[in-house]
Symmetry: C2
Subunit: 96 residues, 2 copies
């Protein structure tokens, strides 16, 4: 069995990613992360017209879906896209 990076996502994971993308704010976060590769929470708060706590919540949902990963960088939190999972997700949408 070869590891081709394209193992089909199970329905739950797929629906989970869709649900995570099912909010305009989260779509914007993902777009921004893709454009800038990485981004700290505070910068995202600046961009969106939402309270810091709300943004933090959206980031949590995105992390739970697996699409976004976050690492702590001092007092900051640095987020970025899991490109491998995104690739699998794209493939799954393509194959719909």
């Amino acid at each position: 069995m070869t590891d081709n990076n394209y193992t089909a996502l199970d329905a739950e994971t797929f629906a989970g990613i869709c649900r995570a993308l099912g909010h305009p704010a989260r779509v914007k976060i993902v777009s921004h992360l893709l454009e800038n590769n990485v981004c700290i929470c505070g910068r995202i708060v600046e961009i969106l017209p939402l309270a810091q706590s709300t943004v933090s919540q959206h980031l949590k949902i995105l992390k739970q879906s697996g699409l976004v990963t976050g690492i702590v960088d001092g007092a900051r939190s640095c987020y970025c896209i899991d490109r491998k999972l995104l690739k699998r997700f794209k493939k799954m949408v393509e194959d719909l």
Copy 2:
């Protein structure tokens, strides 16, 4: 300005389609519709382990997203995918 069928979806529409796909039952409905081109409500009820009213609700959500269209055929309701919108959605995911 040429009509290339690939006009970008606005964030709301995109998030709306994602939200519609954000439930396993609705993913299954969409997959089934894609495989069979068209399908009446009753057949979908047979396939899913859900009450008829629940399935009808899921179909309503899919219709509201625009991804699925339904026409009345006598006493039946016949559903199918809006392939043009699906194409635009796929393109938008691809371009993520």
